[in-house]
């Protein structure tokens, strides 16, 4: 007598099960180490939680603290009217950095990839040289640049003075007006990662497109603008999304360069640095969680905006417009 009759599983079901079996370790890790803490932090964002004592439910108080005082600020123009002026200051610093660093990084790494895609002697060595800085740890790079940018003993200002004839070069990280641009310059040091992605994209462009353009009489600029650039827009789109998210997560470099203070004069108080200060210096984990969720929503909205705009400027080979 047979108690259990083995069920016949279809091939499609077997493949489905195999697929789940392969991804289940990742899903378990994702749930335990990402989704779980995310939901916990969402809960903490509605609490007053100092890590030591149990969280105390405060409803929307942390969110109200962020958004209170905006009408008074609009009326008076005095940022001190805001519920937490440093929240807005940190957002402003981050956006300023993003506006400078993101386009510069995208353009610089793209141009570098175009140059390194040329048939020149030793191109692999050049590619290695330009890629290497991106694999050096952020702390080491920051310490290096802190020295380079030092207005008294760094090598950059003597270069600006003696070679370019700039009489009063900036104080860089010691000058509140130049601290963020200094960090932008530092960030260009690590464009190797994006450059490699562009390079892979450039090498994937079919050569017959260039041949056809040449036959049509296109010069080098026309070939770049009408073939290379459109074919690279998916890669540009990818780097834009990742770059945008990483600029909003900017932390290590500024933490090391300013010893976690955000100085001079809070000119480098980046959003994540202020979030860190709230969590681990002021022990206000509830408010820090609120900040984390607001940052998540900002990044999500901007990403959605980029995705929405992509139809107008990202070209996928074989895709028909309007479909």
């Amino acid at each position: 007598m047979t108690l259990f009759k083995p069920q016949k599983i279809s091939l499609a079901r077997r493949e489905e099960l195999a697929g789940y079996a392969f991804i289940i370790p990742w899903i378990i890790g994702f749930i335990i180490f990402t989704i779980g803490p995310m939901l916990s932090s969402l809960y903490f964002s509605f609490t007053d939680y100092n890590i030591i004592d149990p969280p105390r439910w405060v409803g929307l108080a942390n969110y109200a603290r962020v958004f209170s005082g905006i009408p008074e600020f609009i009326q008076t123009g005095d940022p001190r009217q805001l519920g937490d002026p440093l929240f807005w200051k940190s957002l402003q610093v981050t956006l300023y950095f993003a506006c400078l660093a993101l386009p510069l990084n995208l353009i610089f790494s793209f141009l570098l990839a175009v140059l390194l895609n040329q048939k020149v002697p030793g191109v692999n060595i050049w590619r290695t040289i330009f890629f290497l800085p991106s694999i050096i740890a952020g702390v080491a790079v920051t310490l290096l640049w802190v020295r380079i940018l030092n207005p008294r003993m760094g090598i950059l200002n003597p270069f600006l003075q003696n070679v370019l004839g700039i009489q009063n070069p900036p104080g860089w990280l010691q000058d509140p007006n130049w601290a963020v641009p200094a960090l932008v310059i530092m960030s260009l040091w690590g464009v190797g990662g994006s450059m490699i992605i562009y390079l892979a994209g450039l090498q994937g462009i079919p050569t017959d497109l260039y041949d056809a353009a040449k036959v049509d009489g296109a010069n080098a600029w026309h070939r770049f603008w009408n073939v290379t650039f459109p074919m690279m827009t998916p890669v540009l789109f990818y780097n834009l999304v990742l770059g945008m998210i990483s600029t909003f997560q900017y932390f290590t470099e500024v933490y090391v360069a300013t010893q976690g203070t955000g100085n001079p004069q809070r000119a480098t108080l980046f959003y994540n640095l202020y979030l860190y200060q709230n969590a681990f210096r002021y022990f206000d984990m509830g408010y820090a969680s609120t900040m984390a969720w607001i940052l998540f929503i900002i990044a999500l909205l901007l990403t959605a905006l980029i995705f929405r705009s992509s139809g107008a400027w990202v070209y996928y080979e074989g895709q028909l417009r309007g479909r």
Partner: protein, 461 residues
């Protein structure tokens, strides 16, 4: 199938959330049923992480463990830059260390709500506190908290480079605490004579170029705003609030004077390094005094173990100068070991705390951490050791400095300690970076900022 899978995943999410949230509550303080009660000493908030210190602490733990059958002592060494996160993670996970230290007033103030008040232990054992220096027993004591038994003191004074003084033809500062001519103006005059640019011009010379300064006359740039302002003698000295913590007092005449003096010293008289100068020193040797960048360096006894090793010049120490009102207020730090409220084995931790500061051990323990033993009876033994290690120093300067301590202390507790100190340090950053700063206006703004913080604290945010 899919439904089952989603149910399983849902359970995983729930379990994960619960696991994340489990650390939120503090674990009840219960006695572990182990044969030997374990006492973990968390080292990292202050000194104690250098390799030599780690070796010495291991030896200390062996000494204790060899002589105790019921308690096992263990040092947990954590790099200073990770200490806060690691400590909080341990506490939040219900695994608080039994002792924390040695650490000083700032971390005791920062985590004030969570230290065990040792008053009941002292009373239960009728512990004799009379041998400790008075300041050592009061600095870390609040109406609702006695944070621990005193271990060591770090009085402050001025380290001066005798070679730099000789080269400039400037008299050494007096070692006589009663000599009132050693005041803030005398300090300024000497410091300006000792400040040199690349061509050895001083700020008194017309050709002086502040952009190329290679030696500054004076600095205590390592400390924060409260630390720098305390010497100027405001009624609340190192604390930026009134006694009831309800009113900010950042813009007191004394602090405004101090901030202006500091700003003038940096940008007008050029004998104190600005932010760029400090950064250059950090990038060079990282040691303002030992690296020969500063002729007079105002610091504490801990600098002796950190910095006075085979220096290429002769040096000595002198008292801090009298301030603008003829007072001398010389910062002091006091270290001790503290017990987190939520730690297990607190009775055992108390026994270890007593052992560490007992007359038989305190000198050895202080040798590890560079502090002056908090016990008066240990002064002789410590002095003998120090004279052998650092000969030629006027040790009277160190011991007499204790009489001029700042009270309220410059690291003492205030509401929302971290935010208040950051607001003040932002002002300090402006003083160090903006040659055109309106110092009085800055101090007024800082006062408003601090008032807002303490008001929010009082109102529960």
């Amino acid at each position: 199938m899919k439904k089952k899978l989603f149910k399983l995943l849902g359970m995983l999410v729930l379990a994960s959330v619960l696991m994340s949230a489990c650390g939120a509550g503090a674990a009840p303080a219960t006695q572990a049923p182990a044969e030997k009660a374990k006492v973990v000493i968390f080292v990292g908030f202050g000194t104690g992480t250098d390799p030599d210190q780690v070796t010495a602490q291991d030896a200390l733990a062996r000494k204790f463990n060899d002589s105790h059958d019921n308690i096992e002592m263990e040092f947990l060494i954590v790099p200073t830059e990770e200490a806060t996160e690691r400590y909080l993670a341990m506490v939040a996970g219900g695994n608080a260390p039994q002792l924390v230290g040695p650490h000083g007033t700032s971390t005791i103030a920062k985590f004030k709500e969570q230290w065990e008040d040792v008053t009941s232990y002292i009373e239960k054992d009728s512990y004799d506190m009379s041998d400790f220096y008075g300041p050592a027993t009061t600095i870390n004591k609040y109406p609702d908290l006695d944070a621990g038994l005193p271990l060591g003191l770090y009085p402050s004074f001025i380290f001066y480079n005798k070679d730099a003084f000789d080269a400039a033809g400037v008299d050494y500062p007096t070692h006589d605490y009663a000599d009132t001519s050693w005041n803030i103006e005398a300090l300024r005059e000497k410091a300006m004579q000792l400040t040199l640019d690349a061509n050895d011009n001083t700020p008194n010379d017309a050709e002086f170029d502040p952009a190329t300064i290679k030696q500054w006359g004076y600095a205590d740039t390592w400390t924060d705003m409260r630390g720098q302002m305390t010497m100027f003698g405001a009624p609340t000295e190192g604390r930026p609030t009134s006694d009831d913590y309800k009113t900010a007092q950042v813009n007191s005449p004394e602090w405004i004077f101090g901030a202006q003096w500091l700003h003038d010293g940096i940008f007008k008289d050029h004998f104190i390094p600005d932010a760029a100068g400090q950064s250059a020193i950090d990038a060079d040797t990282g040691d303002p005094f030992g690296g020969g960048h500063v002729a007079m360096w105002y610091s504490h006894t801990w600098y002796m173990s950190e910095g006075l090793n085979e220096l290429p010049f002769k040096y000595d120490i002198a008292p801090l100068f009298y301030n603008q009102d003829g007072e001398r207020i010389s910062r002091i730090h006091a270290d001790l070991f503290t017990m987190p409220k939520t730690a297990r084995n607190k009775d055992a931790a108390w026994e270890v705390m007593k052992w560490l500061v007992a007359p038989e051990q305190i000198v050895d323990v202080c040798k590890i951490y560079g502090c002056l033993p908090a016990r008066q009876s240990s002064q002789g033994a410590y002095l003998t050791y120090m004279k052998e290690r650092y000969p030629g120093i006027d040790y009277d300067v160190i011991f007499t400095a204790i009489d001029y301590l700042d009270s309220p202390h410059h690291e003492s507790w205030v509401p929302d300690w971290g935010r208040v100190n950051d607001a003040l340090n932002n002002t300090q950053s402006t003083i160090y970076t903006d040659p055109n700063a309106d110092v009085k206006a800055l101090m007024n703004i800082a006062n408003e900022d601090v008032q807002k913080i303490i008001d929010e604290y009082a109102g529960g945010k």
